[in-house]
Amino acid sequence: MIKPLRKRHLQAWALLAMLLPLGIISAWLAIPKPVHNNLLQPPVGKALPVVVKTFKKTNYIVNLRSNADSSALQLEWINNTALTISSALIYQKFDADSSNDMHEADLIGRLDARGIFYFPLKNTHVYKKVHFIIYDIIHHQVIEQIDF
């Protein structure tokens, strides 16, 4: 190596000694904080014993379940095949209003394309007509409506 090149190498690394830590720290600080979704109730892991009502379709089965004394109510969603949408929300509306206005609906939970999901419901709704709306949050459209 010749003398000017030695100097240039040292200059290059003196510059990197400043830029690299700056770049690494800046990028590390820019890592987005994980969003804690407080809106959605965590899915309950186990199915309640009594199937109150069932709604079947080719791709999925939806069961309303309760415990023996009907003190707790649960929505069970079973994907038979992968949903064609990657993610969807489930809303619940009371029997008086079967429209698809999301602002007046209660958000129950979120579905993924595959799996079995359990969502606890408020049991005061069990004897009323229950209307569920499945909503695609990416394309902003109603995919399915389920009436029990």
Binding site: K7, L10, W13, L20, I24, A27, I31, P34
Partner: protein, 343 residues
């Protein structure tokens, strides 16, 4: 250096070096794939290939960039320097596999061409968290490609050493691009802080090595020699130079190597004509000064390569007074015969 041209002068050391590289890369990729299959069986093979080649290329890049300063700091690392270009070409090949599969996985089979998609699918250059990190990797890959394509001595001669070296020093810029490609890419999604830590340790190690080695070398270059007489400068004692070895001194523009050979001292320019290797770090083999990098040889008395080779370096006057070595820093034309200094 052969009389007839050979594209690659294969020797035992080159073959061993290449087999070691091949073995290491194969072992790394196999281990990565097996561990991923065990701990993340949901990953597709394309994802595993993209991740395994990216981490291997990054690891190789750190090794490559550490060889230079390590060889400066400790001569035991010199064998790694001899065929470093083989490591570089391997690293580029693996990085190209990573880049190719990534472009296909994320940008192919769409409405626009993959390269158009690469630069137009994300234009959030104003955001750090959403920065189009893939373009950083793309430009780094271009630099690595140019370096790999010109790694042969043919390009060193035809581009001229100045242009060739300027091109190959772009590896430092490419390194910065790659670090940012990783930090603004996968690190934004992987929550485990271990990855940032590993990357930071790798970068800091390289910074530390290069600054240490560079500072030492520049310090040697800036050493002052105060005793002067009739154009000669006193540089050291005769006893400081080992038999068949040299000591280097930077008095004027470039280092001069003073060799002790068979009871005489000879001084030649320290810079090898092949790839500017440090002749003063070599030794005398069969009466010839031998460059430690690639074995180019020069006769001590005139700085010429033994026939049929034609390389020449400058020679200098050297004398011994009261066991001290005095050196005249004004060079003679390359290949000029000079009497050595008896001691």
């Amino acid at each position: 250096m052969g009389a007839s041209y050979q594209a690659v002068g294969w020797n035992r050391q080159k073959k061993l070096y290449d087999w070691l590289i091949f073995g290491f890369c194969s072992l790394y990729l196999a281990t990565f794939i097996v561990l991923t299959a065990v701990f993340n069986p949901d990953y597709t093979f394309e994802t595993v290939l993209i991740r395994s080649t990216s981490t291997l290329a990054l690891l190789l890049l750190h090794i490559i960039l550490s060889i230079g300063p390590l060889a400066r700091i400790n001569k035991k690392f010199l064998p790694l320097l001899y065929n470093r270009r083989h490591l570089g070409v391997t690293m580029f090949t693996i990085a190209a596999i990573h880049g190719g599969f990534s472009i296909f996985q994320f940008h192919a089979l769409g409405n626009v061409g993959p390269l158009v998609s690469l630069f137009t699918s994300n234009t959030a250059y104003g955001s750090l968290a959403d920065f189009p990190f893939q373009s950083l990797g793309f430009f780094a890959l271009i630099i690595f490609f140019l370096m790999a394509a010109t790694s042969h001595d043919f390009w060193l001669h035809n581009l001229s050493p100045k242009v060739w070296k300027a091109l190959h020093m772009m590896v430092y810029f490419a390194y910065f691009l790659i670090i940012m490609h990783v930090m603004l890419g996968v690190i934004q999604y992987e929550t485990n802080p271990v990855f940032v830590l590993i990357l930071a340790v790798g970068s800091l190690t390289l910074i530390f090595l290069h600054l240490i080695a560079g500072t030492r070398e520049v310090k040697k270059d800036n050493m002052k020699y105060d005793l002067k007489q009739d154009g000669f400068v006193m540089v050291c004692s005769v006893n400081e130079i080992e038999e068949n070895r040299a000591k280097m001194f930077c008095i004027d523009k470039e280092r001069i190597a003073v060799f002790k050979v068979e009871g005489k001292l000879f001084a030649i320019n320290n810079v090898c004509k092949h790839q500017n290797g440090p002749l003063g770090e070599g030794k005398v083999v069969d009466g010839c000064i031998t460059c430690p990098w690639h074995g180019y040889q020069y006769l001590p008395k005139n700085g010429q390569s033994p026939p049929p080779f034609k390389e020449k370096v400058s020679t200098y006057d050297v004398k011994v007074l009261k066991n001290n070595v005095w050196l005249n820093p004004i060079p003679y034309p390359e290949g000029t015969e000079r009497e050595g200094a008896n001691f």
